[in-house]
């Protein structure tokens, strides 16, 4: 094996705090921990960083990639190349190499065979991983795992990650498990020391500490959603395991005991129940929501499909529930461990018969928290299912986000009537009467002892008092009122966020987890001489602002991670008078969006459009 000459490469500029590194391992080998340590250490150094786990739908032994992007400018979307490769998996090695640009760096476990003629433009650092682990006298059953800790030390040293930050990250991970901390730390140090002594740095990538990121935390969207729900006073969650939604509920299970003891009695105030399937999960949540509990469930595409009939029931009986859909790639079982924004039109029209839904679209981990509690308020206020569409990228990957803010308003239980409230109505109350003219009726819940409180809830046609009715006019009134109730909501839902550029005549619209890619693309487009305004939609149905944005621009591109341009379709309906101003740009392969893709797509289309 020949290494390219050092000075051939030195010509490329140094890249400090700006590169992408991918660690290639097999899953089930414990590499998740090592990668998180690397990632947290960078965060501790104050460097904007994102970490994305690209993993197979399998438990052990298949290729997994962990992609760390470091960007002083704060661009945290995915990039389609790797500056640095940490190669631990011989199987994918050759393929992984193809993602490296000129000057790229490879740290590889030295039991991996290099290709016959390695690209001369790359820098290879062999790592004597197995030897280091053996010398560290690690017990046999921990060896594979410790190999991963060894590369943490080596890579950390070469890149310039502080040992202090690595220690911090290890502590964060192992908490008070002292022996585990000690042995892992030892292994990291071994790697670190070995690298210091043996590796001559020939590459151009490195990190430098920055001032600490103020008020930032590091976590995943599912954890945030769990916490947001718990702070939202959720009292009941029924669920059925499914990737990538399971960890949302599992985070709830983790935090629930600490957060949700009744301060008065010390008893639990939130029930989390794993049930037999998603039909049951939705059914149980509806039963609970109907009975006056703040209720939710979380699932992904296949589970959502199974909830369809029950969603119709909740919609038409006006029962509050929150449904988190952490999207993965569909149709069908699809790619269970890959990300997409493919459930939007489905959810929008979910259920037979005339139906319309409210959908919240968090675009950051912080919004997962915020929409967690807001969704519960909205559900109870408007007495309807509220959907929150997150995705695997947002939900399961670690993101830097601003600290969770305490809810800025009290819990909203909506128009619930208790014994004494009913008396006020003097017998005038009817479960489905639009007393206030806002389309939202008053409701009572199970347990209310007022003899006027009880009513019979049903998914069949019913009149204002909940009694069975097949009367055509009654039917029409009932479902028109429900629609009115929900259309009234648009302006109350989270407003879109505008990021404007001077002189922009073109708009781009995005939603959800593609935000970092689109922010970066917007800057790239500006540099390319095509300034665009960027609007991120955060809820459907869309509000006036969205309409105005589209109307105000010559043309607007809707960029999203699906095949069919689903948001674009919905906008063509909701803002149909501007249909011709909308173009759809889509990317669907299961990976997060890249700014490069977005930029190229918009530029190409603009070329077309202008001639």
């Amino acid at each position: 094996m020949t290494h390219p000459e050092k000075d051939e490469l030195i010509a490329l500029p140094q890249q400090v705090n700006d590169f992408c590194m991918t660690v290639c391992t097999v899953n089930g080998s414990g590499s998740a921990t090592s990668n998180n340590v690397l990632y947290h250490a960078l965060f501790h150094m104050g460097i904007p960083t994102s970490g994305k786990n690209i993993f197979p739908s399998n438990i052990k032994g298949l290729p997994t990639w962990f992609v760390i992007r470091v960007s002083e400018k704060g661009y945290l979307g995915r990039v389609p190349y790797d500056d640095i490769l940490v190669a631990m998996n011989p199987e994918t090695f050759l393929d992984d190499l193809t993602y490296l640009p000129e000057g790229g760096v490879i740290f590889y476990a030295d039991h991996i065979r290099l290709p016959e003629n390695p690209r001369p433009d790359l820098i290879f650092y062999p790592m004597p991983i197995r030897r280091l682990v053996k010398e560290a006298e690690v017990p046999r059953n921990l060896r594979e795992y410790m190999e991963n800790m060894a590369y943490v030390g080596i890579v950390g040293e070469v890149l310039g990650i502080n040992m202090e930050s690595l220690l911090y990250a290890l502590k964060r991970h192992f908490g008070n498990k002292a022996t585990a901390l000690e042995s892992n730390l030892k292994m990291v140090k071994t790697g670190y020391d070995w690298a210091a002594a043996n590796i001559v740095k020939r590459d151009r990538y490195s990190v430098k500490p920055l001032p600490p990121m103020k008020d930032c935390i590091l976590t995943d969207g599912n954890n945030a959603a769990a916490l947001g729900s718990l702070f939202g006073g959720v009292e009941f969650c029924a669920w059925y395991p499914i990737t990538p939604a399971s960890s949302l509920v599992e985070s709830m299970i983790e935090h629930n005991p600490k957060l949700r003891k009744d301060p008065v009695t010390g008893k639990n105030t939130c029930v989390i129940l794993q049930v037999e399937d998603e039909l049951a999960a939705a059914g149980c949540a509806i039963g609970a929501g109907w009975a006056g509990l703040r209720a939710m469930t979380a699932t992904s595409g296949p589970g959502l499909s199974l909830m369809t009939e029950n969603v119709g029931l909740a919609y038409f009986t006006e029962t509050p529930i929150v449904i988190w859909d952490v999207q993965r790639v569909g149709p069908s079982t699809g790619l269970p461990t890959r990300t997409a924004q493919g459930d939007l039109t489905f959810v929008y029209f979910l259920g037979h018969g005339d139906i319309n839904h409210i959908i919240l679209l968090p675009g950051s981990v912080n919004e997962c928290f915020e929409f967690g509690w807001k969704a519960l308020d909205l559900a109870e206020h408007y007495q309807t299912p509220i959907f929150v569409l997150s995705d695997l990228d947002l939900g399961m990957n670690q993101w830097i986000t601003s600290k969770f803010a305490y809810p800025d308003r009290p819990i909203d239980r909506g128009k619930i009537l208790w014994e004494e409230d009913l008396d006020r109505f003097g017998g005038q109350w009817g479960r489905y009467k639009d007393i206030d003219g806002d389309g939202i009726p008053y409701r009572t819940v199970m347990g209310n002892q007022n003899p006027a409180a009880a009513y019979f809830t049903r998914g069949t046609g019913h009149n204002e008092y909940g009694n069975y009715s097949e009367d055509p006019i009654n039917w029409a009134n009932m479902i028109r009122r429900i629609k009115k109730k929900l259309m009234n909501m648009c302006e109350v839902l989270p407003k879109p966020i505008l990021r404007a550029k001077p002189g922009a005549k073109i708009g781009i619209i995005g939603w959800g987890s593609t935000d970092p890619a689109l922010i970066e693309a917007q800057d790239m487009l500006e540099q390319a001489g095509v300034p665009v305004d960027y609007l991120r939609i955060r809820a459907l149905p869309s509000c006036r602002d969205v309409h105005d944005f589209i109307a105000a621009h010559d043309h607007t591109y809707v960029l999203e991670l699906n095949r069919d341009g689903q948001m674009c379709s919905i906008l063509k309906l909701e803002v149909s008078e501007c249909s011709e101003k909308l173009s759809s740009l889509t990317d669907i392969g299961g990976l997060p969006m890249t700014a490069l893709w977005a930029t190229e797509q918009v530029l190409a289309k603009e070329m077309e459009r202008n001639g």
Binding site: L230, V264, V275, L279, G287, G292, P407, A454, R458
Partner: protein, 347 residues
């Protein structure tokens, strides 16, 4: 034997009259077994002196599932979608633990589309009375076979049923139900006593009631018809429910002919032996009896199995005694300090 509760009285213990337990007028076919069941639920609750507001009713879809509308108008009711009744009850049971839940289902609703939920609500031992109004046919959709239709049954438009029926008491037993009984709409006294016992039982009580569909499945030879039922019913006990406050007074008490089962709230179920002595606390006895009656094709009724559960699902979740759905906002939203701790841990 003839005791007070079975006599017609104008007011019960809590001063309510039978009308207080009524529902809307039934729109089911005259003679439908489901109407009898609705009446006996009213009677049982009247006799027990239950406050109607302390009951909630759940059902799926079917003629049977309509019946909650025809009793207890003063109770909350939720008539959901086909087969998913148990899930509604499961979610609701945590909201106010004082409320007693009654689920009404049909054989289509529970044995076909709802089979999975039927099994799992039992496994979770959700505190409710689960009544299947079993007519061996789909009534509301006009007479198709159900999974409890008799082998060889012939129905108009459908031809002949070539599949063996499921026995829902066996199904319940196997999945861990701790109160399993069968009644027959042609035998109202037994039904009512069973309902009372089921109502005070602490945990899920499953009662499979053979309830003829007079419109679509009441030919004399049909297993779920009145005629067949009357000819083939074989009750295993003569049942009397004795409320907890009351002295037991049995006129013709004879050694060895009675079994007493103490219920959760202190009431007693007095089981008078009919043909053979039967121990309703033995699961094996229940399995053997039900397997035998299934194979020999007769209709055993009575209380097949009863057992006290160690803890209810509400205890397992360690909920307070106050209804969860009434906790004020400040008791369900953690405070700012809690959030600051969370934030700190994620820094």
């Amino acid at each position: 034997m003839d005791n007070a509760q079975t006599q017609k009285v104008e007011r019960n213990l809590i001063g309510l009259s039978p009308v207080d337990y009524k529902g809307k007028p039934s729109t089911l076919c005259p003679g439908c077994g489901h109407n009898t069941i609705a009446n006996q639920i009213q009677a049982a609750l009247f006799e027990l002196g239950v406050v109607p507001e302390m009951v909630a009713k759940f059902s799926g879809i079917g003629c049977s599932s309509k019946s909650p509308n025809y009793f207890l108008d003063r109770s909350f009711g939720f008539n959901g979608v086909h087969g998913r009744m148990p899930t509604l009850a499961t979610g609701a049971c945590f909201a106010d633990r004082r409320i007693k839940l009654i689920g009404i289902s049909g054989d289509g609703d529970s044995a076909s589309i709802g089979m999975g939920h039927f099994k799992h609500v039992i496994r979770r031992n959700i505190p409710m009375v689960y009544i299947i109004e079993n007519n061996g046919v789909y009534g509301l959709t006009k007479g198709q076979f159900s999974a409890t239709s008799d082998l060889g049954l012939e129905l108009r438009h459908q031809g002949k049923n070539y599949l063996p029926p499921l026995d829902l008491c066996l199904e319940a037993l196997i999945s861990g139900a701790k109160f399993v009984a069968r009644a027959f709409a042609g035998d109202v006294k037994q039904m009512r006593e069973l309902f009372k016992a089921a109502f005070v039982h602490d945990g899920i009580a499953v009662i499979d009631v053979i309830s003829p569909c007079v419109t679509f499945n009441n030919q004399d030879q049909a297993m779920q018809s009145y005629t067949w039922g009357r000819e083939n019913e074989s009750p295993i006990q003569d049942i009397t429910f004795i409320p907890k406050a009351q002295e037991i007074f049995v006129e013709d008490f004879q050694e060895g002919t009675y079994r007493e089962v103490k219920l959760h709230d202190g009431s007693i179920l007095l089981l008078k032996k009919i043909d053979r002595d039967y121990d309703p606390t033995s699961k094996t006895a229940a399995l053997d009896l039900l397997t035998e009656s299934y194979e020999k094709r007769y209709l055993t009724t009575g209380l097949f199995y009863i057992e006290k559960a160690e803890q209810s699902i509400i205890d397992i979740f360690d909920l307070g005694r106050e209804p969860l759905n009434r906790l004020p906002a400040e008791r369900i939203r953690p405070d700012l300090a809690a959030l600051e701790q969370i934030n700190a841990a994620l820094e």
